[in-house]
Amino acid sequence: MIQLRALTFGYPGQPPIFDRFDWSVERGEAWAVLGPSGCGKTTLLYLLAGLRFPSDGEVLVNGMRLTRPRPQTGLILQDYGLLPWATVRENVRLGLRVRNFYGPDGTHAPAEHRPSLDVEAWLGRLGLLPFAEQYPSRISGGQRQRTAIARTLALRPDLLLMDEPFSSLDAPTRESLQTLTQELCTEQGLTLVIVTHAIEEAAVLGRKILLLGPHNTAATVIENPDAARTDFRHSDAYQSLCRDLRQRMESPA
């Protein structure tokens, strides 16, 4: 699904964050990208989203080199990115409105796009129907993030990119949204890449964990097949994985 080939990227005047970096993600996998602040997690996600471009090497999604955001990739950010002047329902419709605006041109919207504004099923699935006519300023952080997720899923993506999506939420809301994300990925057959600085979140959501450091030349990958289990959060395996990840983050090889 995703291939990074000899990817090089750095901000002007700073050493490169990625230096001939290779990484690949198979369809249907759930990846967590973990690392300290400034290690390039968010940059990596923006590269995958087609919002930034490497100085060298390439990013392939479905075998196609990215030159702009791909219509089938969904992106969820920490600060929700909701329009303050639109109700929850209108925010969820936004992606469809954008697609209807351009028509099925294959670049902004998939070539098989049919004009529609029907998002009721998504509002229902994410429990947003009672708040559908509210403005984002009137709902909780968890409901805002649910709105952002509904907006993205209404476009039927095959790849979901999430950047610290739950880090400003309280613990119970965060856990329920993590579980919901797992369910939705399975239901919709999504490939997931979630970027986080929280070790616990990476352990729960990543069936594979990519550990980043300050200067990335090779991918450090930790397998975590147990993340798929519903009771994983309460298991000893989870505790020992968190310990392992913490040690690795504190003393990068």
Binding site: G81, L83, W85, R99, F101, A109, S137
Partner: protein, 247 residues
């Protein structure tokens, strides 16, 4: 604000005027009742209506023209850091100049017709709208722009679904803030070298005919014009920007 409170404030001001008129007891300050009678009479039988319409047209045309030109310019500057870097020093220097000092220049260049008056008011409103819309567009969080881009939006869709609705409150705020100045400048431009408009009507009745009740009728008409525009913008804001009043 409740309508009842506005009506009460209005009644209090009329009472204050009545008391002042009774205390002073000179022709220069007629009672509100006298002015109201003359106002209705001048509106029905005199020239007040025509003068009101002339002023209304000038100030409305200026408002529409300033929004039509300043809003797109402000959006362009707010979206492009490069454009803003080029133009912001110019705006920085021009913005604080009191445009009313340009009255003689504009009258000399554009003559004494409607155009000169419209351009003068336009100049004031233009900078207000430009600066507020630019700052509003530039202040949109990059995360919002990125997430809408990730939904497939290019420049056109970003403009339609993000920048345009984001700039509406700025446009209306700019208009609301500058209506007072716009009406004041309207009065100045109409107070000389013209034969129609409320400014002319006030100066002619007060200064030449010494008909004070008619002069006050003109003042009331000019106040109503300002107030009407203010109410209209207020109403537009409630209608077009309901999210600002939610909750």
């Amino acid at each position: 604000m409740k309508r009842r409170d506005v009506a009460l404030a209005f009644a209090a001001l009329v009472l204050l005027w009545q008391a002042a008129a009774m205390l002073i007891a000179l022709p220069i300050l007629p009672t509100p009742w006298k002015v109201a009678q003359v106002f209705v009479d001048e509106l029905l039988n005199g020239s007040l209506g025509v003068n009101f319409l002339a002023s209304f047209w000038r100030v409305t045309a200026s408002m529409l023209l300033s929004v039509a030109l300043a809003a797109p310019a402000g959006l362009a500057l707010g979206q492009s850091k490069r454009l803003n870097r080029i133009f912001s020093p110019v705006i920085y220097l021009l913005y604080p100049i009191p445009k009313v000092v340009l009255v003689p220049v504009v009258l000399l260049v554009l003559g004494i017709g409607d155009l000169a008056k419209i351009v003068l008011i336009f100049l004031i409103l233009f900078f207000q709208v430009l600066v507020l819309v630019r700052d509003q567009a530039a202040g949109l969080r990059p995360e919002l722009i990125q997430s809408v881009r990730s939904l497939g939006a290019g420049r056109r869709a970003l403009f339609r679904y993000v920048y345009l609705p984001a700039s509406l409150p700025a446009i209306l705020t700019a208009l609301r803030q500058s209506i007072g100045t716009a009406v004041a400048v309207l009065y100045i431009t109409e107070s000389f070298a013209t034969k129609v408009g409320l400014g002319y009507y006030i100066v002619f009745n007060g200064g030449t005919l010494l008909d004070y009740p008619a002069m006050y009728a003109g003042v009331v008409a000019l106040s109503l014009l300002g107030l009407g525009l203010y109410f209209t913008v207020d109403w537009l804001e409630r209608w077009l920007c309901p999210w600002q009043y939610a909750g």
